[in-house]
Amino acid sequence: MSTKERFDGVTAEQVMLLALIGLSAVFLIEPIVQDYPADARVFPQMMAGVVFVGCVLLLIQDYLPGPLRTFVAEDMSVTTADDSILDDQEETVEEEETTTEERPPRLGEEYGYGVNDTVFMVVMSVLYLAAGWAAGFLFVTLPFVWAYTTWFRIRWYVGLGLAVFATAIVWFFMEFLILPFDQGEIFDFSPFLPFVLEALWFVSPELAGSVAAVRARVI
């Protein structure tokens, strides 16, 4: 069996369980290594023990003896009793849902890059977080939303409007809750902010006026 074939059988649940086993092992071992006092150690270790044993049981459920396997694997829900009445109707609903679903092509597909939508969403979010940390959310929100909506081929003016709206939300967070969203941990573009507002004056004096008024009131 090749390595690829071996990994093909691995499910996301198994990866998740392995990660949780690793995490719970850390929670079990760390208090011993760092010599935590009893009142700081017992509770997390107890809970880590439950997670560790539970995850191991779930991971090896196919190899467990009958009754134990039932306990580990079988779905137990007190709400499933009424399913008989609803089953048929739910099936019809699902059928209808799938028939109405349409998926327009993504921007990348034009260039031969077919990326799973969920993966794209997570990767973009992580990039947005990293860029926000490095340069401040105020400056990276607009390109993030613009890029996201462009990828999904949302009409350009809707995407741009949403990007401006999202940036305005971040700006409100910054002004009203006094958050340093204009400063990143690596880059500090905050000294340029007055120039940006001045530039805004040329684009729309009314908008720049209201922004200045709000800023004056807050500060």
């Binding site: 996301a12 998740m16 719970s24 929670f27 760390e30 935590y36 009142d39 700081a40 997390p44 809970m47 439950v50 997670v51 539970g54 779930l58 306990f71 580990v72 694997a73 079988e74 137990m76 829900s77 007190v78 709400t79 499933t80 009424d82 009445i85 609803l86 739910e90 609903v93 849902e97 109405t100 679903e101 349409e102 998926r103 939508d117 969920t118 969403m121 973009m124 979010s125 992580v126 947005y128 977080l129 926000g132 940390w133 959310f137 929100t141 993030f144 939303v145 909506t149 949302i154 809707v158 949403l162 709206f165 999202a166 939300i169 971040v170 967070f173 809750l177 958050l179 340093p180 941990e185």
Partner: protein, 499 residues
Amino acid sequence: MAVDAFFDGLSIAIGPEALLWLTVGLLLGIVLGALPGIGSPVGMAIVLPLTLPLESTMALILLIAIYSGAMFGGSIAAILINAPGTESAAATTLDGYPMSKNGLAKNALAIATTASALNGFLAAIILLLISPVLIQVVLAFGSPEYFLLAILGISLITIVTQGSIVKGLVAGALGFMISTIGTGILSPRPRYTFGQFGLYDGIDFVAALIGMFAFAEMMKLAAKSQIAEADVSLGGSIKEGVRTVFKYPKTTVKSGLIGMGIGMIPGSGATTSTFVAYAEEARSSAKDGRFGEGDPRGVIAPEAANNPTVSGSLIPTLSFGIPGSGSTAVLLGGILMHGLQPGPVLFDEQLQITYALFISLFLGNVLILAVGLTVIPYASRLTELDTNVIIPAVVVLSFAGAYTLNQNWFDVMAVVVLGVLGFYMVQYNYSVIAFVLGIVLGPIAEENFFRSLQISGGDYAIFVDPLNRPLSFLLSVLILLILVGPFLKPYLERKIDRV
């Protein structure tokens, strides 16, 4: 004292500020509920950090109003495009969408509004009436009972939600485990921080809520790539819809009571109550019913059940800190974030806050009726929004909100990490509510666990002592029965059959 507290609560609830937040919350809730994939827990989780500058009662009124509004809003998308805005509206699609296809969309929406508001209204009155009894029950609880109650809550969730019991326990214990990151509760010593200063305060449970609900939900929405663009025609009559609800008073009241009863059970939530109410109505009206083809009783039953579930789930949330659903888990997060403690204090020294919340719920349902019936002609516009427009907006709000909590980048990272974890947990039937409950209740459970051991001098028998602590013993037996019961049931049934 209760009467004084009631009038104090009333003066808070009918004050201009409370009414403003109630209206804002309801409108926001209706909009968020009507957007497929958002719903009440996501909406509440996003709004939660924004309530930081608000006074605690106002913040809670806003959150409860969003919850109530989303319960109604969820039915808009369910009826018009067959995509429930909230999980609790899933049962409404069964007859609501066929009604819409039969040209009776306005009737269905008016039925949903009236049934939802009417029963929410009745449930709020019941809640006000039974609160004096609740006070007595809550005051009987001590440290061991509170610890056991947290365990009981998670145990109940594991058997109420789908999936194996072991999965539920793993989820709950994982939540408890994550909650211990940061400075210890009893001895102020950093735990599991690995030298990272940002982890000294632990992972904020509000950030965890945002991750598990908002971010995970957005991942789910992206996976579905469901675009809610459909030909929506709003036919029918609002007046006729309102009249229909009064034509079936038995269905309305019965479903409302089912909703409130199930709402009181931790973990069950509105999804369970609406399906149970629908199934009960389908069973009792089997002779003349046309369920699944647009029978109005198929809309009345789930909608009459969903809003009373909000009232019902407030009982375990406020009295014991055990949320009944994802939304009440977020609400509990809000209660704790604003420095309030669920339990005896909310029913004793701060009873006026509790009454203010109940009265707001009552007023909120009056508003739902007024606002709901007014927005029906414009409802279809909400469902035409593209989900790929919603996702980046929610991501921006989630990250900014998480950072707002403590100005800590670890909280923002927690949103992504726990969001991804939540996404897979949902996919493989692990109870997200048990996990969230673990995170939210972790510090309370740990503190009460150690306080119990301090009382008993380290003797674990304090949790199972029938003579000195009968309530603890009863709770321990209940936990055992809940966990082992489902497996013993078939064995006992076989034995009884043989006899």
